[in-house]
Subunit: 171 residues, 2 copies
């Protein structure tokens, strides 16, 4: 492994040349994968949960009753993923789906008792992982990170072509 000095602000080797190891989109991807993988392992091993399932549970843990559409809006997942995650969670009796009498296309989702128990078990594990990750930073850096994540997400969504909700083209 060789060190890779010369950060973003510094002069790159040659302007107009590309060094993957310093390319921010690449680094973000590698970091995000490493982190996700570490976390997914907990969910999968101990609870037989995928990340999309966990995201659904996390939202239901906070909001009590939501439709699939609500969850799509809240989690940046597409409807296929949500649909599948919900199906599995219903299958494993962690989520209950009641079809809404007012609008029978919709289903109102809630954690079951078992689901809630698992949710309460996972939350501290997840928070602990996050804490350990952020231990690498000092408190000031953590605040900066927070702000930067927000800014970058905004910029990235702006660059992204028409994908999810976003500001996209209205029709």
């Amino acid at each position: 492994m060789k060190l890779n000095p010369s950060p973003l602000g510094e002069a790159p080797e040659k302007p107009g040349s590309l060094i993957l190891e310093r390319f921010v989109p690449y680094r973000l991807s590698v970091l995000s994968n490493t982190v996700s993988r570490a976390i997914a392992r907990i969910y999968a091993q101990r609870f037989d949960l995928t990340i999309p399932e966990w995201r659904v549970m996390a939202q239901l843990g906070r909001h009590r009753r939501l439709t699939a559409s609500d969850i799509i809006g809240l989690t940046a997942m597409d409807k296929v993923r949500v649909s599948r995650a919900v199906a599995r969670l219903v299958g494993s009796r962690r989520v209950e789906a009641r079809s809404d009498t007012a609008d029978r296309r919709r289903q109102v989702l809630m954690l079951t008792t078992a689901g809630r128990r698992i949710y309460r078990e996972i939350v501290p594990l997840a928070l602990e992982r996050e804490t350990r990750l952020l231990e690498a930073l000092d408190p000031k850096e953590r605040k900066v990170l927070d702000r930067m994540l927000a800014k970058l997400q905004g910029q990235a969504s702006a660059l992204a072509p028409a994908a999810d909700g976003g500001a996209g083209v209205p029709d």
Copy 2:
């Protein structure tokens, strides 16, 4: 879209509760996906390249001649991905693979003339995307981001269980 104030450093709603939208691993994942997607679109549409293929080309663009193992070491991709990316690149005549006479398990890879032409075409596009993404930050923030990415990657690798080679434990 609703605003999501109350950053990392701030008091969370309730200590011990988890708000996905503020959970750093989640935010990293969403951000990385948004960015990757925006970039992948360029590669795919204009050049019929996947991200793994682009990463291979990027390394060959810089290092001229590499084996698949070298690329694995350089890109945080596993050997399956590299193998497949290389196979496709050879198929599309963008990379040439010469089996190494000294060690016939190995193949030395290099960009073909066509590969190099495409590489030179992509580099400025990729850099331009990165620049636009980072426009959201001021120069100071960019430097901080660079440092943080490095720190977080280090920490994440440490947390990650035995996965890839990585910097792992030096032994």
